[in-house]
């Protein structure tokens, strides 16, 4: 281990997590293809994607648990491969696997073992979290249910107050009451600690109030990477009433994320772009825009995940405010 300063401090100052051209294959299956991720410092980045789209692999590459075939990944400026230990020192990770530890270990021993690896371990905080999440510390880890194991993982991850949190489906397996409690606890933790978060989840509604960045991963490709403000101002749902034999809006080609039929003759289009410009282009073709609606993070994620997009360079596929991360 060579140093305790980032290999690229300029990156670490602005961006918490960066990947450049990350490529990873498992046999013939390409898990990640030339992935360029940028998570600004202090941001809560919600990563969505269908199962098998590469979310877990990406997090494991950031920790160098999985080694990419090519490309560079950094955590707070520390190269995940060259300075892997330092990158991991900055991270707390809730992984996809049920047993993040040793199944034969007593829970209290596992917590003590974890604490001995982490200089910033806060014993009082760990005790409080254990109590709040109702984790039984006298039982064996392997005997915990899926939900209990996940709660223990959250304690192990948060108790050392890491600068970067990598959360892979953090509420998976939790019952509704515990899920609510865990999310409130996570929200409080983020309010009290300056933390950058990369969170992957299928339940975007859970992190609706937390997330300020959205990334959509499809088949190993980061098809969209955008901050929430830009998303709110540039992706809208348009309810359109169109005349018979309407030819559509050719000038919006490449910007339409989704189209479906509404009530009666109405069409609903999800379109990228300035609202006034889109409305102008639609009305110019003889159609009428009845309603324009902002999309929730969840609805936006669903549309962006489910459609195969061809933006032809017109849509903001990689916009992050203040991060200089334009693609």
């Amino acid at each position: 281990m060579s140093r305790d300063t980032p290999s690229d401090p300029s990156i670490g100052a602005e961006l918490a997590l960066v990947t450049r051209g990350i490529r990873k294959s498992f046999g013939r299956r390409i898990a990640l293809a030339d992935l360029d991720l940028r998570v600004p410092r202090g941001a809560i980045y919600v990563l969505v994607g269908p199962n098998g789209s590469g979310k877990t692999t990406l997090m494991r590459i950031l920790l160098d648990v999985v080694r990419a075939d090519s490309g560079v990944a950094t955590v707070l400026g520390f190269d995940s491969v060259k300075d892997g230990a330092y990158a991991r020192a900055a991270c707390g990770h809730v992984g996809e696997r049920r047993f993040a530890g040793y199944a034969w270990m007593k829970v209290r021993d596992l917590l003590a073992f974890q604490a001995s690896y982490r200089p910033t371990w806060d014993k009082a905080y760990a005790d409080a979290l254990t109590k709040e999440l109702d984790v039984r510390d006298h039982t064996t880890f392997g005997k915990l249910s899926k939900g209990e194991a996940r709660r223990l993982q959250l304690v192990m991850t948060l108790a050392h107050r890491p600068s970067v949190l990598l959360l892979d489906e953090p509420t998976d397996g939790l019952d509704p009451v515990m899920r609510d409690r865990a999310l409130r606890l996570l929200s409080r933790h983020l309010a009290e600690n300056e933390t950058s978060v990369l969170i992957s989840t299928h339940l975007v509604s859970e992190v609706e109030g937390l997330g300020d960045q959205l990334g959509v991963l499809r088949d190993g490709v980061l098809s969209t990477q955008i901050d929430r403000v830009t998303l709110r101002t540039t992706l809208h749902s348009y309810t359109i009433t169109a005349p018979i034999d309407w030819a559509g809006v050719p000038s919006l080609s490449g910007r339409i994320v989704s189209k479906y039929n509404g009530i009666g003759q109405q069409l609903v289009w999800i379109v990228w772009g300035d609202e006034r410009e889109v409305v102008g282009k639609v009305t110019a073709t003889g159609a009428t825009v009845r309603e324009v609606r902002q999309l929730s993070l969840e609805r936006a994620a669903v549309y962006l995940m489910s459609e195969r997009l061809d933006f032809s360079g017109t849509a903001p596929t990689s916009i992050i405010s203040g991060a200089g991360g334009g693609k």
Partner: protein
């Protein structure tokens, strides 16, 4: 200095090798595997001859076999494909792997020393003190060297492969075919492969002549070479090794 920057700096602190070794010693102790090892070795000795020191080959064979078996036990339930917990800790992966191997070796030698000490004490009470004094220093050292070499040899496989047992059998068979093809399948034919394996390992540390000048040169050399090999393998990411191996297999199948 703000609380945040203090936290940032302390989070850049990583676990060094010496601390990793201590943690791995503790981890193995918590797993109770050293106790099981000690109990198993003691039980084998008691069942075999009663509480009495034996200075012949069987005890040497016992310590030969203990090393390789312990190499499996040290990584039990934690093949490279399932080491994400260990490897997501703030320590170098190479250090973590070497620390585990070293911690395992420490517990192994501790168990061997306890069994031997018990055997010596009970042997002395049984009235064979003169025999004990008659054997050379090299004999006693060899009882530690033999399991060490067996353990380190198998650790080369357990450090990097998910199925080290299959790799071990493959290497033994390949070695037999290359160096002694006419008799390579004899041990399988007469169900005596265990003895054949013991012979292979035995020849490396030359247990028949412990204490000879060649022996004093050969075993430190073997231990050094094996540690270097483990270090090299531990440095290699399993994903890299896997893609390298599949590339080699692909080239071989094409030719």
């Amino acid at each position: 200095m703000t609380a945040s920057s203090t936290r940032d700096q302390s989070q850049h602190r990583v676990v060094r090798f010496s601390r990793a070794v201590r943690l791995q010693l503790w981890l193995l102790w918590l797993s109770r595997r050293p106790v099981v090892l000690l109990a198993a070795m003691g039980a084998v000795e008691v069942l075999r001859r009663g509480l009495e020191l034996t200075l012949n080959l069987p005890i040497t064979l016992l310590v030969f076999f203990v090393g390789p078996i312990w190499a499996f036990a040290v990584w039990s339930g934690e093949p490279p494909s399932n080491r994400s917990y260990l490897w997501s800790q703030p320590a170098s992966r190479t250090d973590q792997s070497l620390a585990r191997v070293l911690a395992g070796l420490v517990w192994l030698l501790a168990a061997v020393v306890v069994v031997l000490a018990t055997a010596v004490v009970t042997g002395a009470f049984a009235g064979i003190w003169s025999e004990l004094k008659a054997v050379g220093f090299g004999f006693w050292v060899n009882l530690l060297v033999a399991p060490t070499i067996g353990y380190l040899m198998l650790s080369c496989l357990t450090v990097v492969f998910d199925r080290p047992g299959w790799w071990m059998l493959g290497i033994i068979l390949l070695r037999s075919v290359i160096w002694n093809p006419e008799s390579s399948f004899e041990p399988l034919g007469d169900f005596n492969i265990g003895h054949a394996l013991a012979g292979q390992i035995g020849r490396i540390s030359d247990p028949t002549k412990p204490g000879s000048p060649q022996w004093w040169i050969s075993w430190p050399l073997w231990v050094t070479v094996l540690w270097l090999l483990i270090w090299g393998l531990a440095r290699t990411h399993p994903d890299r090794l896997r893609s390298w191996l599949s590339e080699v297999v692909g080239r071989l199948s094409r030719t």
